[in-house]
């Protein structure tokens, strides 16, 4: 087995261990929450103690923790993450549906933010010290410093009549054509995605700029210039290639957290994704749902980290040594 294969296996093993610890951690965490779902559901004047006990039993809250844990692991192996307390729907279905809502919006925003941020960062590094560089750095820092929810609120205030400011689609469209649906979805997605893009843009620009600056100071870049290569080739082929390495880790980490959806962005824009689901699940004390969300996000991050490690190994052979 080559060194590289061994490295991949090692990283896969590490990822598996982290995943298992995360699974257990989330179980322990959620069983410790005070109060329970039963007292929250539709407080009616006629609910008696017996009914509450029955509900508690129905949801399996009366069994010892170890039994619950074993059941939990077994169910997970089958992809069953239990049933939501709020409406008894399978958690897997609820979370996956929310993830399906989050991914397009977050992906659009994240990718734009990453791409534009990278371009701007390289530009700023290339023009280090100039007024453009200062402007870019300044803008990026300001964007980095703005609270997400506040930025979202401002965007709502600005675009209130022009674009829909909440929800994912117009539910009253009757038999819409594909184009009409596409346009409707895009309209709703524009503001939250832009919000996420603006966020990421700042941090990416700054990171790329600093690692590009380092790369530009490298010897091999000097060599390339001495050889007479054009600036553009030097910037992108030589410097950026080595600057790309930390960028890869940052990108995969960002993508991994994509499913987390931006709790704040989704809350501000009423986007029915994983982020908003998390907040709802907490206030409803919906353990199974919370666990499911946690697991999905954590496992997604673990997976993307693992991918990042692999990519890193591919791009930088020094890593496997």
């Amino acid at each position: 087995m080559s060194k590289r294969q061994r490295y991949v296996l090692r990283r896969a093993g590490a990822a598996a261990v982290i995943a298992f610890v995360a699974i257990t951690f989330s179980f322990v965490l959620f069983r410790a929450l005070p109060g329970d779902a039963v007292s929250n559901i539709a407080q009616s004047p006629r609910m008696t103690l017996e009914i509450k006990e029955v509900l508690r039993r129905n949801f399996g809250l009366d069994q010892p923790l170890t039994t619950q844990y074993v059941l939990y692991l077994g169910q997970l192996a089958h992809g069953n993450m239990g049933r939501s307390f709020q409406d008894s729907r399978p958690v897997t279905e609820v979370v996956l549906r929310a993830a399906a809502n989050t991914i397009p919006m977050a992906a659009l925003g994240t990718l734009i933010g990453m791409v534009v941020g990278t371009l701007i960062g390289v530009t700023a590094a290339y023009r280090q010290g100039s007024s453009l560089d200062r402007a870019i750095t300044g803008t990026s820092m300001v964007l980095y410093a703005l609270p997400v929810q506040w930025l979202g609120l401002l965007m709502i205030a600005l675009f209130a009549g022009v674009l829909p400011t909440s929800g994912m689609s117009d539910p009253y469209l009757i038999d819409p054509s594909f184009m009409a649906t596409f346009q409707d979805r895009l309209e709703h997605m524009l503001l939250p995605s832009t919000c996420m893009a603006l966020l990421l843009f700042g941090s990416f620009a700054l990171v790329v700029r600093s690692s590009q600056l380092e790369a530009l100071a490298d010897d091999h870049v000097l060599t390339a210039r001495a050889k007479g290569y054009r600036n553009r080739r030097v910037v992108w082929r030589e410097a950026f290639r080595s600057a790309m390495l930390p960028l890869v880790s940052l990108s995969t980490l960002t993508l991994g957290f994509l499913i987390a959806g931006g709790i704040l962005t989704e809350t501000v824009f009423g986007w029915p994704g994983v982020g908003r689901l998390t907040v709802q699940a907490v206030s409803a004390r919906d353990y199974p749902l919370l666990q499911g969300i946690f697991l999905v996000i954590t496992l997604s991050v673990v997976f993307f980290n693992f991918l990042g490690d692999i990519l890193h190994a591919v791009l930088d052979p020094r890593v496997t040594q």
């Binding site: 610890v21 300001v142 609270p147 600056l213 100071a217 960002t254 709790i263 962005t265 907490v282």
Partner: protein
């Protein structure tokens, strides 16, 4: 000494630290600075900015400027307290793992990796629901989930220090670990810790606002985060009351900027060779996850 000189010469440093000092003073002297009560109504509901109320009033008629000043106390308090906790914890772990190496290092790295993988804001939300939402608990929750990047950065620095000659020399002279750490490692790590503290303050102020926004801030206290949340929940946007929305966000942004400029200046001054770059490229890429986490 040369570090301080390098710092003093940087405009980013002076701008950054001035902002921080200004807001700290605001927080400390809050009760003296507030023109009206931050609790009782003193003007019309959602009143526009006027000569009587420079920043207008909120949905209950409370003066916005007084709210902002009162809010600075809790926002800055959470920011600094949580950052100190995070940096003390992260710094200690970073020094130990970087200096000792071996199993303790592997252990620390594993734990750090694990916590980096856990989605921070969701976890904080759950913990706030678990432990309660008082300001002390919020400080603990934020502090105990913000130490990871500090550990990495400190560990990296301690690695390079360990390779340097003076450590080996000190050892050969019979110096114990604790002595070496205190007299040789710490002085070099200290400026980094300062920079990290300041940067973590920014993250902590952010996270406090995020928790407040989803309703998990300390409800008995006013902070910039709760002001944004109130504006969101009480239809400030539809009422056209921009003065209820803009000021708290601007304050948070300014504090974060101030922290950022200061922290960046300190790190740059520590490593002038890289010009505007940072101590190590990894320090940046690993710090950013702390910020992205709270999205």
């Amino acid at each position: 000494m040369s570090l301080l000189h390098a710092l003093a010469r940087r405009p980013t440093m002076s701008v950054g630290i001035s902002i921080l000092i200004a807001f700290t003073l605001m927080a400390v002297f809050a009760s003296g600075l507030e023109p009206y009560s931050p609790v009782a109504p003193s003007g019309p509901l959602f009143g526009a900015p006027s000569s009587a109320h420079w920043l207008g009033t909120d949905d209950a008629g409370v003066d916005m400027l007084s709210l902002i000043i009162a809010g600075s106390q809790n926002s800055m308090l959470v920011g600094f307290a949580a950052a100190i906790i995070a940096v003390l914890l992260g710094g200690a772990l970073g020094i130990i793992s970087g200096y000792k190496g071996g199993w303790s290092e592997t252990g620390v790295v594993a734990v750090t990796d694990f916590f980096l993988v856990i989605p921070a804001l969701p976890l904080m939300i759950v913990l706030a629901a678990l432990f309660g939402q008082s300001i002390y608990q919020i400080v603990l929750i934020i502090g105990l989930l913000s130490w990871m990047s500090v550990t990495y950065v400190v560990r990296a620095l301690v690695h390079t220090l360990r390779e340097r000659g003076f450590v080996a020399r000190a050892r050969s002279l019979g110096a114990g670990d604790r002595y070496i750490i205190r007299h040789h490692i710490l002085p070099h790590v200290a400026p980094l810790l300062v920079a990290q503290t300041v940067l973590t303050v920014a993250a902590a102020v952010f996270l406090e606002a995020a928790l407040a926004f989803v309703g998990l801030g300390d409800p008995s206290r006013i902070s910039w985060g709760t002001l944004i949340q109130t504006a969101f929940d009480r239809t400030a946007v539809s009422a056209g009351a921009w003065w209820a929305i803009v000021p708290p966000g601007v304050c948070i942004a300014l504090v974060v900027l101030g922290c950022f400029l200061t922290g960046q200046a300190v790190e740059e001054a520590m490593n002038p060779r890289l010009g505007h770059a940072h101590v190590s490229h990894r320090s940046f890429s690993l710090r950013t996850p702390t910020k992205d986490d709270e999205r």
